[in-house]
């Protein structure tokens, strides 16, 4: 078989030809599909066929604008391509008619335009200058929403597998040195320097070594790894191959959570195609280097994202953490030296090898280099995936990229790092985001989930939510996590129900301290963080719940009372809205809510046109 070089020029030529045709591309990541992307795709195919249009219909992965899904991109030869948001089957005909038949973009549905070599349209924000993307960089996410992840040709035509080609001409140690120069730190949350880890595995003595990719993303509100798995599976595989060549491994395993079926199917397809082209397998690209990759689906335990529990799970044991040391770099999978990195870390590797470590290190801050992908969720206008340079401030992410808080409400806090992280209040908004500053503020980078909360969020309830999660996901091996998080959760539940006692805060702090210092693995050691940070920044809310039996955010149902004030005109609308007949009153007289009967559902409040029902 020929080398990749022989293929590359013809693949690139075909790709260029493809891009020059009229195209419709539907975003079919899990987010797009969940928003109805498949139905939109069917409607588009139907419309194109019935009109007999000479248009290519293709699909891509998530471009990052989850808030705009389902997303459809349309382009005409020689012109910029326009990304439309909120496309449903009913407006497909209008878009095709306008953009492809009349050649006039439907500007009121256009989110952005990707100009490239084409001529831009007026009145549509250019991607790089748009609200959502202006402060972003597109490096590790550059193919997301731009290529068809199921076509290896799209990957190769956009520079794919040039990294392994280059790596195979280098000495393994040179590659490790480049990764060290890049300053890349583990993107799974720990932030351990990737190059140093590779050096450990390279130096470890063993007749067999493994590369393991941790694709067991599980933080609530985190989906960056899923987006990369679904959108650029070859990049992860290429990163693993380069790691294998650098440290002397010939086998890689991707441990992917079973809840990501689309990611698994696209990975399987990617492996199959790469093997068929001689990019994966024996004598890769005509070299002496052999590397194979297989997928291991997880079984649903969050703790298997912890590296030693993950290894146990691959080996077929119960997913519980092992004690460290020995670290996986020395005794990992089947007790062999194992290089275990996260999806985003591996996906960065081909770019680092192709462009050099110094290029990567030119982005970011002194101790946190490069870019980081974040998932923006919560009470914000633009939820989605954003790749930003390290060092950007929370304010820029929340207000510029994410477009600020929903319905103009007041920002309260952002939870960074999922259940292992912490929340940061408004006075930390100008904190530059990097590994060390977040830890200093009591939170952590984690895998990159940012959950934004506004004034309607109760911080005690938020801490309760995350403790409930970690408690449910505790593996049960060590006492502090198994028993301690349970008691913390019970105390938080009590406080939210208005049954908090005067010693509860002290007990929470003691338990948090002991669990942090004595739990076996990172899941347990970080489980108290949401409680500790809310206590640090929002202690007054805890005190209000305990001492005044009041929930300042008006969320904890047991602490709420609904009353009618004198603005009531006695229209009776609220009486009809109440599902439990707790409201009574004569017509044109002020109504009354029976506190005993009221279930505090709040159904009456939005029905009242006179703001006469007070929740407090």
């Amino acid at each position: 078989m020929g080398t990749l070089k022989d293929h590359r020029s013809s693949i690139e030529e075909q790709h260029t030809k493809k891009m020059e045709r009229s195209r419709i591309v539907v975003g079919l990541g899990t987010c797009g599909i969940a928003a109805g992307g498949n139905k939109v795709m069917a409607a588009i195919r139907g419309e194109v066929e019935s009109r007999g249009l000479d248009v290519d219909v293709d699909f891509t992965s998530c471009i990052g604008m989850c808030y705009a899904e389902p997303v459809v991109e349309m382009s005409l030869p020689g012109a910029a391509s326009v990304v439309y948001g909120g496309v449903y089957p009913e407006n497909v005909a209008k878009l095709i008619e306008g953009h492809l038949v009349n050649k006039i973009p439907v500007t009121d549905m256009a989110e952005i335009q990707v100009v490239g070599a084409g001529v831009p349209y007026e009145g549509i924000p250019v991607m790089e200058k748009s609200t959502y993307y202006e402060k972003q960089i597109r490096s590790v996410t550059s193919r997301l929403g731009r290529t068809n992840p199921e076509r290896i040709e799209d990957y190769i035509a956009t520079g794919g597998y040039a990294g392994i080609e280059k790596a195979l001409t280098m000495e393994p140690q040179e590659i490790i040195n480049e990764v060290k120069i890049s300053g890349l730190r583990g993107r799974g949350g720990g932030g351990f320097p990737t190059g140093t880890k590779w050096q450990f595995v390279s130096d470890a003595v063993g007749d067999k070594k493994y590369i393991v990719c941790n694709a067991d993303e599980g933080d609530p509100g985190a989906f960056m790894d899923r987006s990369i798995l679904e959108g650029d599976p070859h990049a992860i595989m290429e990163g693993m191959m380069i790691a294998g060549y650098a440290i002397g491994a010939d086998e890689g395993i991707i441990y992917c959570r079973a809840e990501y079926p689309l990611a698994i199917s696209r990975l399987n397809l990617a492996i199959e195609k790469a093997e068929a082209m001689g990019i994966l397998g024996n004598n890769i690209l005509g070299s002496e280097f052999n590397f194979k990759i297989r997928i291991k689906a997880g079984a649903g335990a969050f703790v298997c994202g912890e590296e030693t529990a993950l290894l146990n799970s691959i080996e077929g044991y119960r997913g519980t953490p092992r004690v460290r040391p020995p670290f996986p770099a020395h005794k990992g999978l089947w007790q062999k030296p194992t290089c275990l990195n996260n999806v985003e870390s591996f996906a960065n590797i081909p770019f680092i090898v192709r462009n050099g470590g110094a290029w990567y290190a030119s982005m970011g801050t002194e101790k946190s280099k490069g870019s980081k992908v974040f998932c923006l969720t919560g009470n914000i206008n633009n939820t989605g995936l954003a790749e930003v340079p390290m060092g950007i401030t929370l304010r820029e992410i929340v207000y510029d990229i994410a477009g600020g808080i929903l319905e103009g409400r007041k920002f309260k806090a952002v939870q960074s790092g999922g259940p292992s992280g912490g929340c940061l209040p408004a006075d930390q908004l100008d904190l530059p985001i990097d590994y060390d500053s977040l830890i200093g503020a009591g939170a952590m980078m984690g895998s990159g989930g940012l959950v934004v909360m506004d004034e309607t969020t109760c911080m005690v309830d938020m801490a309760r939510f995350f403790l409930n999660f970690t408690q449910l996901e505790s593996c049960g091996k060590c006492t502090p996590c198994r028993e301690g998080t349970k008691r913390m959760l019970e105390i938080l539940e009590r406080i939210c129900e208005g049954l908090g006692g005067p010693n509860d805060i002290e007990t929470l702090e003691r338990l948090a301290k002991v669990i942090k210092s004595s739990a076996l693995c990172a899941l347990g050691q970080t489980a108290p963080n949401p409680v500790l940070t809310t206590l640090r920044y929002f202690r007054d809310e805890y005190e209000a719940h305990i001492n005044d039996k009041r929930c300042p955010a008006g969320l904890c149902a047991e602490l709420l009372t609904f009353t009618v004030n004198d603005r009531c005109v006695g229209c009776g609308v609220c009486i009809k809205a109440c599902p439990v007949n707790a409201i009574s009153g004569e017509k044109k007289a002020v109504h009354v809510i029976d506190p005993e009967a009221c279930i505090k559902c709040g159904a009456c409040v939005p029905k009242c046109k006179f703001d006469a029902i007070v929740k407090a």
């Binding site: 335990a301 119960r318 519980t320 004690v323 040391p325 408690q471 449910l472 996901e473 505790s474 593996c475 049960g476 091996k477 060590c478 006492t479 502090p480 198994r482 028993e483 301690g484 349970k486 008691r487 019970e490 105390i491 007990t507 003691r510 338990l511 301290k513 002991v514 942090k516 210092s517 004595s518 739990a519 076996l520 050691q525």
Partner: protein
């Protein structure tokens, strides 16, 4: 042999390389409590009661799984260590029946001893507790999983016997429970009643059923005997009260297929003047059998007669 020298509670201690901090400290005469540590099946590190303060460490490492290193400065009873140990004991007690008055293990129970040592009177936390059925289906072993602290010693010990691994952890998190396959009773499981699990249980979760109600821990004197039923040479304890043998308890296995029920029953018959009624499993049911059948002597006796 190469050695390492570390400082424990201001005392210099030199131990062979590869020793744990726990070995080093205990060897030097310091006390460190342990629940899950078993020198035969070391390296589990789950109960966390043996945490110590090591200068420069990010948190409080478990001494049973931390290798002693040159220059290490260890404190075994610093304020944070004591606070953490107290809290861990309190957490265990919060999910453990405090019925020490009638517990078979009273006086020989690590949870009780450590609660006494660290002055943990009772659990300050209310909340949910384990509520499992008391498994008394096996005629030799009582399993009260409400008392289990999930140290896993029984699991590792059972797995250590060839062809066994009858029990393992099931469920997860707070609901974790040691159980036979499919969470069945011990009688329904493949358990051969060797009782090695009983011999390692640090609390009252696993107890010898035949000894139930016969004596308090401080009333008995144990005498080690070597079983002579086969050439393995397992160790058992003759349990005496007022000089009289009231039962035989499994102690430590030897090589081969050790600590078998037949051996223990044989010793029972030999030493106990009021031996228990031997029970064997037939068609998945325990039934009372004759001593000759229990000890496999029927054929021999027939020939002798």
């Amino acid at each position: 042999m190469s050695t390492v020298t570390l400082t424990i509670n201001s005392q210099e201690v030199t131990v062979p390389k590869g020793s744990t901090v726990l070995d080093a400290a205990v060897g030097a005469g310091f006390f460190i409590p342990t629940f899950c540590h078993d020198p035969i099946y070391a390296g589990y590190g789950g109960c966390r009661i043996c945490i110590v303060d090591i200068k420069g460490a990010r948190n409080l490492p478990a001494s049973c799984v931390t290798a002693a290193a040159d220059g290490m400065i260890v404190e075994t009873e610093s304020a944070p260590v004591v606070e953490a140990r107290k809290t861990i004991i309190e957490l265990m007690l919060a999910n453990h029946p405090v019925d020490c008055m009638t517990c078979e293990k009273c006086g020989d129970c690590r949870l009780q001893d450590y609660a006494f040592r660290y002055g943990v009177e009772s659990a300050g936390f209310g909340g949910e507790r384990k509520d499992y059925e008391f498994d008394t289906t096996n005629p030799y072993i009582n399993r009260n999983m409400n008392k289990c602290i999930l140290c896993g010693k029984c699991v590792r010990t059972c797995k250590g016997a060839e062809d066994r691994a009858v029990i393992d952890f099931t469920f997860r998190g707070f609901d974790t429970k040691v159980a036979p396959a499919l969470d069945s009773s011990l009688a329904e499981s493949a358990c051969v009643s060797c009782s090695r699990c009983v011999s390692v249980c640090p609390v009252g979760a696993l107890t010898d059923k035949p000894l139930g109600g016969k004596a308090r821990a401080w009333e008995v004197v144990k005498e080690e005997v070597t079983c002579t039923w086969c050439d393995a040479g397992c160790l058992f304890d003759l349990v005496r009260k007022n000089g009289e043998v009231i039962g035989v308890a499994a102690k430590a296995p030897a090589g081969g297929r050790p600590l078998c029920l037949k051996g223990r029953l044989g010793l029972e018959l030999r030493y106990n003047d009021k031996p228990l009624k031997p029970m064997l499993k037939k068609d998945d049911q325990y039934v009372e059998v004759s001593w000759t059948e229990a000890l496999g002597l029927d054929e021999i006796l027939e020939k002798l007669n």
